[in-house]
C-alpha cells in the first residue's frame, strides 16, 4: 500500500534526469533513471537489487548512445560538447512518445492485477517502461547484458505476491 506511486513527483524527477542528459524531451529512459534513484519504492528497490542502480543505468544509456552512433560511423568523441550536459538544457519540458507508451503500458499492467488494487504502483510503471521490445531502454539494457524478461517476471511476481 505504501508503494502507491506519486506520478507527478516521478515525472518531475524524470524531467531533471532529462535535463542532466542534455535532452530537451523527457523519454522513458529518464523515467527509468528516476525510478532507480528511488529505493524507497518497490520498483527502485527491485532495480537496485538487480544491480541496476542509477550509475549503472546511466552508463548503459551512454553505451547505447555511442553504440548507435557508431553503427553509422559517427564517433561522439569527434564533437566538442561540454562534459556537463546539464548546461545544454535548462528544463526538459516536453514528454516524448516513449513516455506516453510507458504510461499506457503501466495502466494496462495495473488493470491486469485485480480489482482490489486500483492505485498505480511504481512496479506498474516499471513494467510499462520495460514492455517495449524496441527503443532506447531495451537497447541500453541489452548493451549491459540485462535479461529484461527476467526483470519483467520479477516485477510481476512481486506485484502478485503483494496482491
Amino acid at each position: 500500500m505504501s508503494d502507491r506511486l506519486d506520478l507527478r513527483r516521478i515525472v518531475r524527477e524524470a524531467r531533471v534526469e532529462a535535463s542532466a542528459a542534455g535532452s530537451a524531451r523527457v523519454e522513458a529512459e529518464h523515467l527509468l533513471l528516476a525510478l532507480s534513484a528511488r529505493p524507497d519504492t518497490d520498483a527502485g528497490r527491485l532495480l537496485v537489487d538487480r544491480g541496476l542502480d542509477h550509475g549503472t543505468l546511466s552508463r548503459a544509456l551512454d553505451l547505447e548512445f555511442e553504440h548507435s552512433l557508431a553503427s553509422v560511423g559517427v564517433r561522439l568523441d569527434d564533437f566538442a560538447l561540454p562534459h556537463e550536459r546539464t548546461a545544454l538544457v535548462r528544463e526538459s519540458r516536453w514528454l516524448g512518445r516513449s513516455v506516453q507508451i510507458a504510461m499506457q503500458r503501466a495502466m494496462k499492467a495495473r488493470a491486469g492485477h485485480g480489482r482490489s488494487r486500483r492505485q498505480l504502483q511504481s512496479l506498474h510503471l516499471l513494467l510499462g517502461i520495460m514492455a517495449p521490445d524496441l527503443g532506447t531502454v531495451p537497447r541500453a539494457l541489452a548493451a549491459i547484458g540485462v535479461d529484461r524478461d527476467a526483470l519483467i517476471d520479477e516485477a510481476r511476481l512481486t506485484l502478485a505476491r503483494a496482491a
Binding site: 530537451a24 548507435s68 552512433l69 564533437f79 566538442a80 545544454l88 524496441l134 532506447t136
Partner: protein, 96 residues
Amino acid sequence: MSAFDSKEPQNVSDGLAAVVALRRLADLIESAQVDRALREGWSWSEIAEALGVTRQAVHKKHARRVAAAGPGRALPDAEAVAAAAATPDDEPEEEP
C-alpha cells in the same frame, strides 16, 4: 566492426536507433553552438537564419537556458544576449 567501414548499420534496428541517437546528438550540438554564437555576438535572428528555422522557434528553445546561464533571469532578447556575451568562456574554443 566491418560494417562500420561502409557506414551501413548491421541491421535495421541499429539503423533506426542511429537515427534516434543522431537527433539527440544534433540537439546537443545545437545547444552548444547557439551558446557559442551568442557569445560571439550573433543575434537571435542570425542564428535562426543559419539554422533555417524561425526566430521564435530558436528563441523558444534556447532563451530560458541562455538567460539562466547569465546573471539575469527571463530577460528580453537584447539583455539576454548581452548577459550571455558577458559570461566568460568556461571552455576553450576548439578552432579547426
